[in-house]
């Protein structure tokens, strides 16, 4: 269980590939260094979803796509009782899914 969310920074053009992939989406280079994903940003869009997948016992999940200040967009869970488009948020790491007894850590966002 990793306590960091990692992307792959291209050693040639510097593009952060997140999700990581073996070929850079910008320049097709094939070498990368790991880079930690997270920080502050603003809510690009969000939803309260009641149509849930397996592994969730809650009534709904609040999900968001956040545009980080470095320009990278990331999907995560939004822990905010008053969500708004454009609202400033910052990332934390928490349990985002628990299939069986194996919790998965990932990005959660709280008001900045």
């Amino acid at each position: 269980m990793s306590d960091k969310v990692l992307g792959a920074k291209c050693t040639s053009c510097g593009t952060v590939n997140y999700p990581s992939r073996p070929v850079c989406r910008n320049c097709r280079n094939e070498t990368f260094e790991p880079v930690e994903i997270g920080g502050e940003g603003k809510v690009l869009t969000f939803t309260d979803v009641y149509a849930l997948a397996i592994d969730y016992e809650t009534r709904y999940l609040r999900l968001a796509i956040v545009e980080l200040d470095d320009g990278l967009r990331v999907t995560g869970q939004l822990l905010d009782d008053d969500p708004k488009l454009g609202k400033r948020v910052k990332s934390t790491i928490g349990i985002v899914r628990e299939p069986g007894d194996k919790p998965i850590l990932g990005l959660q966002f709280v008001p900045a």
Binding site: Y18, P19, S20, R25, L44, T45, F46, T47, D48, V49, Y50, A51, L52, A53, I54, D55, Y56, L61, L63, A64, I65, R73, V74, T75, G76, Q77, L85, V96, R97, I104, G106, L107
Partner: protein, 394 residues
Amino acid sequence: MNPVYIAGAGMTRFGRSEWPLMQLASVASLAALRHADLGDIPVDSVVVANMGAARVNQQTALGSALVDQLALVPAMAEAVENGPASGASAFKIGCQAIASGMADVVLVTGVERMRVVNGLEGTDFVASLSQPEVEYIYGVTLPSLAGMFARLFMDRFGVERKHLAMIAIKNHENATKNPYAHIQQTVTMEGILTGPEAVVNNPPIAEPLHLFDCCPVSDGAASVVLVSEGVAKKLGGTRVRVAGIGQATDTHAVQEREDPTDLKAVRLASEKAFSMAGATPKDVDVAELHDAFTILEIAESEASGFFGRGEAHVAIERGETRLDGTLPINPSGGLKAKGHPVGATGVAQLVELAWQLRGEAEGRQVKDAKLAYACNFGGFGNNVVATVLRREDS
């Protein structure tokens, strides 16, 4: 490239079915084969479209299974899995076989039997098409992607929930004229949005989308018979030509798209299909779009080139996309009301359009339809197949 024609089209009624997977597929296939009336002309190849049988029906190798059920052995056979675009992908592969000269008659059948599992399991099976590391682990489901897309799109273009409701009302009304539709029940603005009962009738699914913004979960199958020009000539009658096919992909994860409100793969697939057909969106008489969520009918009708950006909801207010409008969209009821057996959907869109072009769509017939367009939207827009069909009177 050799010309390709649709000689026959058939389907099962969509909805909850007690029939096993192969019975659904066989019934639709036999309907299409009867419609084509091939006589002693042999079927060279069978292509089956399906997304989830391996997981929800514990059955694989569906091409081999169907070719045997239909007693078409030793014809060629395979199955195609391309998420919710499986149907039009299988259709495209069938067309390629005829266009290349490798086959003269191809049966393309889309099938899905997904109501056999509970809601969570069904939602999860479809969610497995999302990006595993940056989407799926967070609890992303297709409704959640549609909800996030809708909020952004509505905010940017001034689309309101009433516009989404207008799509639902229109498509439900169309479905009452389609005996193959899953839901044959009209809905009203009061009932789903403005009236006192709306809160109960129309609960949220993925804000701002509510129940009546989402397609039902359906079982069903749809089938077409594709033939070469030589076979089409022998068969005679009204011919439906596959005038153009376009396909394009986009990033797996929605978050990586430059403009998340731009359905780029729809735009590119549509441009390719129209270019191949030598036609423009203005020439289209009837369209079937992939309205798994009401917002998608709006967004796809713009990305396909029928309306400018931010203009589709205005066209809907004017009634332009109704059955009696200037461009009827989803006369079948769309995924919204006809239903969405995932692997069957892309084929079912083309079944409806083939019937429309042959003048066989009964109570929902678009008058004198000559050019038809379909958009089969896979993933959340990461794999899209657009098709243009043209009637040729012989």
